[in-house]
């Protein structure tokens, strides 16, 4: 029986996952040029500086696009279909891949406002940032 995919946390993105476990959505900010970026990287995609800080995003944004997944790539997710996989534009101006959860995900529309929540995974130390429809 396959297991649900979990991140293989590494040296670079360890702060992100530690933040998520504590209920914080962290993204990278370049100390040199102040560009924000996600997913976590070794260098700034704007100026190639390696001096990257972690800043806490508000955790709010809008749905940019979404897809109802009926056939997940990893069959372990089958018990959750259809899964509302989505691209969220965070208010900070960064695109983020995630999913929409909560009480009424079937009413999701592009442009809908969403707010981050942190979902416990099978691993006690790992929580996934996912989004709920706001308001």
């Amino acid at each position: 029986m396959a297991e649900k995919s979990l991140p293989k946390i590494n040296k670079i993105d360890q702060p992100f996952w530690k933040g998520a476990a504590e209920g914080k959505l962290l993204i990278q900010k370049c100390r040199a040029c102040e560009k924000l970026q996600f997913f976590p990287r070794v260098v700034c995609t704007g100026c190639f500086s390696c001096e990257l800080d972690w800043v806490q995003a508000k955790g709010e944004g809008k749905v940019h696009s979404f897809s109802w997944v009926f056939v997940p790539r990893n069959p372990a997710f089958k018990d959750e279909v259809p899964i509302c996989y989505a691209n969220i534009i965070l208010d900070e101006g960064v695109i983020f891949e995630s999913r929409i959860v909560g009480t009424n995900p079937q009413t999701v529309k592009t442009g809908a406002k969403v707010r981050v929540v942190f979902q416990q995974t099978a691993s006690p130390e790992i929580k996934l940032p996912v989004f709920e429809l706001a308001g």
């Binding site: 995919s5 970026q37 959750e80 995974t121 996912v130």
Partner: protein, 383 residues
């Protein structure tokens, strides 16, 4: 840039199979043998060799070792679906630089389970996409399609017309695995995979291989009198990668098209072999190539005949959607079909005027954006 002295001199294809577990190496060998038969070249004429792969390091030299090829040039073509076009580019560079006169380029797939295929580490995919239960490329392209439909009013009828017309072309292609008639209604009613992507938006994985042979002009003349020149070629890797608010509905093909059409006019292209992992990808490429404005692809598709006998022939052999996607042969299928057309070897699906073809290749889907690898080339038949 414009190429001066690089020609396509031959190609080879295998039969495609839905279930075969024949070793991949055997498919490779069959495709190469077909190309050698067609060109009259001997194995010892092969100086350059490329295999498009998503496998381990040194894959190409190891395949060459198995095939007994001693070489002056080798390439591990790690470009996904863009591999057909990008390996042509790399080999053309090697020919123009004088490293080789003849190069054989391969792509293929088999369900052979004895061959362990290790994917390279995909950190961003594993940690930031897979964990949410996504549906693979079907989901990532579904995000692009929904965005296009909502932003520009593109309809399922327009998108479906691409799949339906390609099926009509495939009905005249004996290599195609999917040759049953398909109506727009069949398309619309096909099973939902990752909404709005349906079953008939998806390619069917299969076994098979394709081979392309490239040679210097001087050498080409001694091989064939059907000279097909590589005119110009371009690629864009990681389009918009550092833009944190990317435009999801524009591909790197826009940059590729601008470069290609610096050398050849848009109205000089007779047929289009556009990488078709999904119909929406074909529609967006038509926009990005500048045959209509951004967002007008749906209307364009609706008002043109995309069949092999139409005014805008696209994927004249049925494309990957109807032939089947033999893994990384997918990117080669389009090059080979263009060659068949330009050499007047396409039989009942022959495009009447086939002097110039535009071929694209697109590969993998990057985080939050769209295609990671995009490439294109223009080839031309000269007497």
């Amino acid at each position: 840039m414009r190429r001066k002295r690089v020609c396509f001199v031959g190609y080879g294809s295998t039969e495609y199979s839905r279930k075969s577990e024949e070793p991949l190496l055997s498919y490779y060998a069959q495709a190469i043998r077909a190309a050698l038969d067609q060109t009259g070249l001997k194995k010892s004429d092969i100086q350059g060799f490329s295999v498009t792969t998503q496998s381990s390091p040194d894959y190409s030299p190891h395949v060459a070792e198995q095939l007994g090829l001693e070489l002056d040039w080798v390439l591990n073509g790690d470009y996904g679906g863009a591999g057909g076009v990008t390996s042509v580019r790399r080999a053309a560079d090697a020919i123009e630089a004088g490293h080789v006169d003849v190069a054989v380029l391969l792509g293929g797939n088999s369900f052979d389970k004895s061959v362990f295929q290790q994917r390279p580490l995909e950190y961003q995919r594993a940690n930031y996409v897979d964990v949410y239960g996504y549906g693979g490329p079907n989901t990532l392209m579904a995000l692009v399609q929904r965005r296009h439909m909502e932003q520009y009013g593109t309809t399922l009828d327009q998108i479906g017309k691409i799949a339906v017309t390609q099926r009509e072309n495939a009905r005249l292609n004996p290599q195609a695995l999917l040759r049953d008639p398909m109506s727009l209604e069949d398309y619309l009613k096909s099973r939902m995979i990752s909404d709005p992507i349906r079953l008939f938006d998806c390619v069917m994985p299969c076994s098979g291989a394709e081979c392309v042979v490239l040679a210097s002009e001087e050498r080409a003349r001694s091989i064939t009198d059907k000279l097909v020149y590589l005119v110009t070629d371009a690629e864009r890797i990681n389009y918009q990668v550092s833009n944190m608010l990317p435009d999801k509905t524009t591909f790197g093909i826009k940059v590729v098209g601008d470069r290609l059409f610096a050398e050849v006019r848009r109205d000089q292209i007779d047929l289009f072999e556009l990488y078709d992992d999904y119909p929406i990808a074909v529609l967006i490429q038509i926009e990005d190539l500048g045959y209509c404005g951004k967002g007008e692809g749906g209307k364009f598709v609706g008002s043109h005949d995309l069949s092999f006998k139409g005014d805008f022939p696209v994927n004249t052999g049925g494309g990957e959607l109807s032939v089947g996607q033999a893994g990384l042969a997918g990117g080669f299928l389009h090059v080979v079909e263009a060659l068949r057309q330009l050499r007047s070897e396409a039989g009942p699906r022959q495009v009447k005027k086939a002097e110039r073809a535009l071929v694209t290749g697109i590969g993998w889907l990057s985080y939050g954006r769209n295609l990671g690898t995009t490439a294109g080339l223009i080839m031309e038949r000269r007497a």
